[in-house]
Amino acid sequence: MVLWLVSRILQALLVMLVMTVIVFVGVNVVGDPVTILIPPDASAEERIRVIQAFGLDRPLWEQYAEFLRGILRGDLGRSYVYNQPALQVILQRMPATLELAFAAILLSVIIGIPLGLYAGLRPDSLLSKFFMAGSVLGFSLPTFWIGLMLIMLFSVHLGWLPASGRGETVEMLGMRWSFFTANGLAHLALPALNLSLFKIALVMRLTRAGVREVLPQDYIRYARARGLSERRVIYVHVLKNIMIPVVTIIGLEFGSVIAFSVVTETIFAWPGMGKLIIDSINVLDRPVMVAYLMMIVLIFVCINLLVDLVYTLLDPRVRLSSGRKG
């Protein structure tokens, strides 16, 4: 088990390394490295000075080594716009994105799993068909369009919920959360709903597919043959078997939610990493772009590792694959 963990961590580090190479290549071969380091409107002398100071006239692999060293030090350049270290800019905004992502995932689990369970157990009922039709809409509608419609409906027409920004926050554990204030929740509601709609549909379909696959299995028939109550058959036997793939996919989707927050944050002006990156791309604040990329890679690699760990803990077949047969 420990061996497995070590090997996975090594693999994760390898992935990070590969990403640094890709980013480096992207910046130096596709982009112009000089423009990354200096604002677009610098003079010619500044360019020459910068080139020499940053060693851009040195061979490529030396530059890459320097780039790596910078990363390990935590120095990913300085943002033009905010005039702060890029990494710091990103870390300031990360909590807002994480909060949004967390709210979205929570919604998708709370709504998606029960609905999917129902649709799987009673596939012919009218309600099930309605849910499934809704789920097709849910993952067909582009997130941005849903966002626009949500704003039109709830903010402009009904005036119930605010359309932009983050509400009041409460400091807890060193970070600011808007979960705990009514105003904060009101501001969180629409963006979270927007971000989660796709996931709700996905989780619902996944759960339903899982139920349809597990229900005809031998062991379910056997559970009934032993006289267990229908409730137990479903909520213990069926559920446990479904949960394994569902949980792992939800975990993986957490990363995707963070990514899609780019759209939601733009529409709702939510002050998170996603809005930052779009703004940065538009004004070509490249140090921030690079820092964002590396940060995202780190988050994803960590998520994948965690999900793998959880999966091996949940599924005894995988956990005990080295167990002998007797």
Partner: protein, 617 residues
């Protein structure tokens, strides 16, 4: 098509005339398929008395499993309809409210299926405790203690530790014991066993049957045993119910039915069942007799003609064949162990001869066949055919040799490409080897289709339009397109129903007689092997433990494993009901060894003419 039948839910008179434990009366079951109701069981009636074992026997489509599910009311309520009466202990199960029925399931009537029925994500202790606490008032600790006792009763070693293990950590036989233990948890009056041993090896099956007999005697419970194997029927049951196409065609004491069946179908079924030991009078293979269901006329068993000339050189010589598989594991995918699937195997086959490779799962017989065909690469050894060593051929040389040795496979469903017509599948090898143009290919395909008992016009159909037996015939025809001298039949009849199996075996014998084809017949079914072979090789853990003429192997088995194998085969002779076996709980080992394992050199002694036995330590 019949409409939905009205349910007759009036409570039946809760008495049975002779105190039968279970009385099935006029049971009708229908399934809803594509908006039509199809009758699956029609008018089935029989009884099970206390303490008696009744076997329900039939082939696929007979409805025997559906009947068990109907009795237990485990069919999906929306797409099935059951009519009739099922009186158990004086109550009609079909009219009970759901909650009452649940109290009976697992409690008064227990059911076991094939051993894949344990939930893979829960421990077996969990299953047992769950069942115990459902039906008996017990605390967790009491249930655990009781579960332990039950596991020991079905002779699972180290039960206390194994209770917290998962299904995949047990072998098939052990899992079935666990299921039996669970079934006994509430001391049921009736045990319904739905093909529990079908997927198990024959020695394991013998142990399970023995266990069931013992426990039945101890508990005094009745058993309804569903099977397709007449040998099992003879060994385990007092009475037999024969089913065909959803109807009961015959019922009676096993001791009477097997020697003297009444109905034409029962006679046909029994005619198709090979009886171990009945071939001792002849040294040649013998065809199965056949009964025409419509007329009742029997085609008697015809011996095959003499096809082997002992003075000829063998057409296939296998010498010291070794095939091993690497097992990789660990974080870096390094080599952790090896499977010694085929270890130093040697044998010859002459023209027109059938050599059978028998053994249980994991013994290496399939891998031997595949190694000869080079579907899997042997590590070392010589495979000579017509003087050429096939083990060392390049790919192009190998293609040439493909014309001389062909293979037919076990699964009739996946051995034909679903997206190709049967005619194209047949013509393909002919054209690939450039033996002629398309017209010649088609002619040959049609000729061979006729030869295997199908009609030439069927060439334009797709595989899904044929039954399992027909698909195997098509596979045989396909193998014959290249006029091979040897056909490797890898469990080619194992997946077929009893009567279909007999027909395909007859076909193979016909072909052998007319074309002098040799067969390497790979099988685990000793009784069929006895019927079709000239010579037999018994394999265990990748090695041949005994090889010789069929009469010698079956008549005078020398190696202990051969004897165990032969002993374990259930024989459809009711007199054998009383035989008690002394059996161990030994598992079938698998030939997985450490990377540095050096297989010991074996010595063989000659016991008779051409009959060799491996020396046992």
């Amino acid at each position: 098509m019949t409409d939905v039948e009205l349910l007759d839910r009036s409570p039946a008179t809760p008495t049975s005339a002779d105190g039968a434990l279970l009385s099935v009366r006029n049971l009708h079951t229908s399934f809803l398929h594509r908006h039509r109701w199809n009758p699956v069981l029609q008018d089935v009636s029989f009884e099970i008395a206390r303490g008696e074992t009744v076997a329900v026997v039939g082939e696929s489509g007979s409805g025997k499993s559906v009947m068990a599910m109907s009795i237990m009311r485990l069919l999906p309520p929306k797409s099935s309809r059951i009519k009739g009466g099922v009186i158990f202990e004086g109550r009609d199960l079909l009219t009970l409210p759901d909650e009452e029925m649940r109290r009976i399931r697992g409690n008064r009537i227990a059911m076991i299926f094939q051993e894949t029925s344990l939930n893979p994500v829960f421990t077996i202790g969990f299953h047992m405790i769950e069942t115990l606490r459902r039906h008996r008032r017990m605390s967790e600790a009491e249930a655990r203690a009781e579960a332990l006792r039950l596991l020991e009763r079905v002779r699972i070693p180290a039960a206390a530790r194994r209770m917290d293990e998962y299904a995949h950590q047990f072998s098939g036989g052990m899992r079935q014991r666990v299921m039996i233990a669970i079934a006994l948890a509430c001391r049921p009056q009736l045990l319904i066993a739905d093909e529990p041993t079908t997927a198990l090896d024959v020695t394991i099956q013998a142990e399970i049957l023995e266990l069931v007999k013992e426990l039945q005697a101890e508990e005094g419970m009745s058993v309804m045993f569903i099977t397709h194997d007449m040998g099992v029927v003879a060994e385990i049951s007092d009475r037999t119910v024969v089913m065909y196409h959803g109807r009961k065609v015959e019922e009676g004491p096993t001791a009477r039915i097997i020697p003297a069946p009444d109905h034409a179908y029962t006679r046909k079924l029994l005619a198709a069942v090979p009886r171990l030991g009945e071939m001792s009078g002849t040294s040649l293979p013998v065809r199965f007799p056949d009964i025409d269901l419509a007329t009742g006329v029997m085609t008697p068993a015809r011996p095959a003609g003499r096809t082997v000339d002992p003075s000829e050189e063998p057409i296939l010589k296998v010498e010291n064949l070794v095939t091993r598989f690497d097992i990789r594991g660990g974080p870096l995918g390094g080599l952790t162990a090896r499977v010694h699937a085929v270890e130093n195997v040697s044998f010859d086959i002459r023209a027109g001869e059938t050599l059978s490779l028998v053994g249980e799962s994991g013994c290496g017989k399939s891998t031997t066949g595949r190694s000869i065909m080079r579907l899997v690469e042997p590590v070392s050894g010589k495979i000579s055919m017509d003087g050429i060593n096939m083990a060392r051929l390049s790919r192009s040389g190998l293609r040439q040799m493909r014309r001389r040795v062909q293979m037919i496979f076990q699964d009739p469903v996946s051995s034909l490409n679903a997206r190709m017509t049967v005619g194209e599948a047949l013509m393909e090898p002919f054209l690939a080897h450039r033996l002629g143009d398309r017209r010649a290919a088609r002619e040959k395909a049609e000729t061979l289709l006729a030869r295997v008992g199908l009609r030439p016009e069927m060439a334009g159909r797709f595989p899904h339009e044929f039954s399992g037996g027909q698909r195997q015939r098509i596979s045989v025809a396909r193998a014959l397109m290249l006029d091979p001298k040897l056909i490797v039949a890898d469990e080619a009849v194992s997946a077929l129903d009893v009567s279909v199996k007999a027909q395909v075996v007859n076909l193979l014998l016909d072909l052998q007689e007319s074309l002098r084809i040799s067969f390497l017949f790979i099988s685990h079914d000793m009784a069929v092997v006895e019927r079709v072979s000239h010579r037999v090789a018994v394999m265990y853990l990748g090695e041949i433990v005994e090889i010789g003429p069929r009469t010698a192997i079956f008549g005078n088995p020398q190696h202990s494993y051969t004897r165990r194998l032969i002993d374990a085969v259930p024989i459809p002779d009711p007199a054998r009901r009383q035989i008690k076996r002394t059996l161990s709980t030994a598992e079938i080992c698998s030939p997985v060894y450490a990377t540095d394992f050096v297989p010991p050199t074996r010595r063989y002694r000659e016991v008779g003419y051409g009959h060799f036995v491996m020396q046992e330590d």
